[in-house]
Amino acid sequence: MSVETMTNYSTSSLTGSRLLAAYLGDIRIELTKITRTPAFFVPTLFFPAMFYVLFGVLMGGGDAQGALHTFVRMGVFGTMAPGLFGFGVSLAFEREYGQLIFKQALPTPPGSYLLARMLMAMLFASVIAVILIVLALTLTHAPLTPMAAVRVFFVEVLGVLPFCAIGLFVGALASGQAAPAIINIIYLPMAFLSGLWVPFQYLRIPLLQDTATLWPPFHLSQIALHAVGMESFGTMGSHICALIGVTLLFFILAVRRLSSGGLHLFGARRPGSGFRFGKLFTMGIIFVSIFLIIAGVMGGHEKVPAATSKAAAEEGAGSPVTGTRSTAAVGVAAPATTQLGDFDAGSTKVSYGLGWAPADDKWNGGKSTAVLKLTAGGAGNSKAALEVSGNVEGSAQYPFGGMNFFPNGTTDPDFSKWGYTDYSKRSSFRFWVRGDGREYMVVFVPPNPGMDAIPLMVSFTAGPEWKEINIPLRDLGSAILERVKIIQIGTPNPGPFRFEIDDVRIE
């Protein structure tokens, strides 16, 4: 190499394109590092998609609302890992092995390390979001409009920031050895406690619901639910407050911690040559962020129906609703009538929905049978009652024989698109019954049984004399009554059955 003449750059900074090259170079290096670390990028990209296919597609029972809910939850779950691991684990290692102090001694442009890492987390979040959107649109009937998809995409990409800040804080504190374990201890339980794994409607553990606002993923998931037009808890303002507060707090604590160890992420501390977090400024940020978090945590509980469900509810009030497909999580409000069939008119029809029909278990491979027949002479000397009879065989996974009613069923051949009804304002389900002395049950079936919620089952006995059965709904929890897709009356127990029913009401 030839002898180079020395040029004097004594006081000049890097100018435009050279400075850009410095930042871009750092971003490119981060990207190269990540693409060569399959242990990071494979699970980070693959797990949310895999869980979505598992819970949202394969186990989702084909329900559109459930698929959308799972889509949102898995999307938020997917935004957690890039920030937590990308910052937490890598930073701890790089700090421990002197890489950060070396970068600081080099003329690295201020903040380029943070910027490059943050962009990587956002890149990962956007890839995960796109994968889930494609899966949702191709494999499920999730009612995801293009605009909603764009909105949820941005929510999830920006949603990496609080997790970047938490990761940064752990990376600033923990050793390289301990960081992965600490991050996992934060990551998985926090996802569970925020209702990302199993929705609260299903768990029905009040303590979890009451403490959910403490966890950042919960706030992000509520924003994402709102973005796709589903029911959410709390106001958007409170969630944004909480997330900004968490981001600021952990970020400032991490910066403080690092700078006490001589690491200044924004370069030099001298005024004018870099950004400096003065003590007062730091305390101010901490104060503001704690205030924001408290505001967010306190404001996160109120239930907010989806924007579209109010319109649907008004539409449905007082009149039979057929074919209305709302994107709301709560079913359309039940029509004003309390009558669900007195059968005196010689029909199994109800004033709304699809009317009573035989229910068996052929849909899940069973051989049980059920027949409905109108009989003269109902309860209380009324004109007619409905006789339900048949035989239950135990061969199906969920054996059943009896009758069912779809309050918001339609003629759409795709069962998963049928709507559901909100009965949460009603206090009791009543009917008169007599029969063969066997035990039967009333089942309120949610749209996505087993995933969103378990069906509600209440037993009763059909004796030889007419008797009124009164099932108080108040005690059963509103989560399922808000979303009733089917009301079933019958039995899962093998053997022949026969009962007569009259004057069914939900009051």
Partner: protein
């Protein structure tokens, strides 16, 4: 500030709790000179370097780099750095590591030119993580010089290198100095300082205890060790006026002396069967011990 001084510490003091790492250190690096910074562990070498790199600030006194505060990024755009212990990302390739660093500088060398100069061609496309310790040091040297620095900080550059790699490293450093680059070198190897340095500064207890050319420093280090197997009685040898210390080490007698030639003459005269003779110059640690104990450093340090 004159153009001749690139970096300086003026009465720099740095304390870590009760330990005084730098105790009013004065140090300056001129243009085109290679300054070797020597001293036992804990002498304050690393602290001095860290302050000049802007990684730490002195509690008192001040530091300048190209007439600026070392924390000014524009000052650091004129230096190259090879740190003693740095774990770089194992998944990256040397070419990528060097290219990333070139991006931080105004007018860096071409990455290929750096690779060629350091003969890294065969390593450039391998993962950094699979390189040997000496190879890693060579890559780190590439990262240090790629920005066309005016001043190069090399902290123990030859640790882990084999003899050939060390010779190549020395040649690269000599070439750089000839091209006008200044170098601050910290090392444990006296030979390295001897081979390269224009000027040597010896630190102890945070102070400059000796400074001068290599020959001047070497004149401080006069004690030598004579090893041998002899049938002469220990008491007899101890009685020789040239002998300062006497001890047994792995089957041989170890004689510390300022006049090895005289001791050898007596040994050969007194014992026809004397075997396994070896004469060693004092190690650097002993040299420092000598410089610092014969000087005025320790006693006053403790008194304060």
């Amino acid at each position: 500030m004159s153009g001749a001084t690139l970096a300086s510490l003026n009465s720099a003091v740095k304390r870590f709790g009760r330990i005084t790492a730098l105790d009013g250190l004065n140090l300056s690096v001129g243009r085109g000179e290679l300054l070797a910074l020597l001293g036992p562990n804990g002498a304050g070498k690393s602290t001095a370097i860290n302050i000049l790199l802007g990684l730490q600030r002195p509690d008192a006194g001040h530091a300048e780099l190209f007439g600026m505060d070392p924390q000014e990024i524009n000052a650091r755009r004129r230096i190259g750095i090879m740190m003693q212990e740095v774990g770089l990302s194992p998944s990256l390739k040397p070419r990528e590591l060097i290219r990333q660093v070139t991006n931080y500088y105004h007018s860096p060398y071409e990455v290929d030119a750096v690779i060629k100069r350091l003969s890294l061609e065969s390593l450039a496309e391998r993962r950094y993580g699979v390189l040997s310790g000496g190879q890693k040091r060579q890559v780190q040297l590439g990262m240090a010089i790629c920005g066309r620095p005016e001043l190069l900080f090399l902290d123990e550059p030859s640790v882990g290198m084999d003899v050939n790699a060390r010779a190549a490293l020395w040649q690269v450093i000599r070439d750089l100095v000839r091209e006008g680059c200044s170098v601050v070198l910290t090392t444990h190897y006296l030979e390295e300082a001897e081979a390269l340095a224009d000027r040597v500064a010896v630190l102890d207890h945070g102070k400059l205890v000796a400074s001068g050319t290599v020959d001047e420093i070497r004149s401080y280090v006069t004690r030598k060790t004579v090893l041998c197997k002899t049938s002469l009685a220990t008491d007899v040898i101890r009685a020789w006026p040239e002998v300062e210390q006497l001890q047994h080490a792995s089957g041989r007698l170890q004689i510390i002396t300022r006049d090895a030639e005289a001791v050898l003459r007596r040994l050969l005269n007194g014992d026809a069967q004397v075997r396994d003779i070896e004469v060693l110059r004092a190690g650097l640690a002993e040299a420092f011990a000598e410089i610092t104990s014969s000087g005025n450093g320790n006693g006053q340090e403790k008194a304060r």
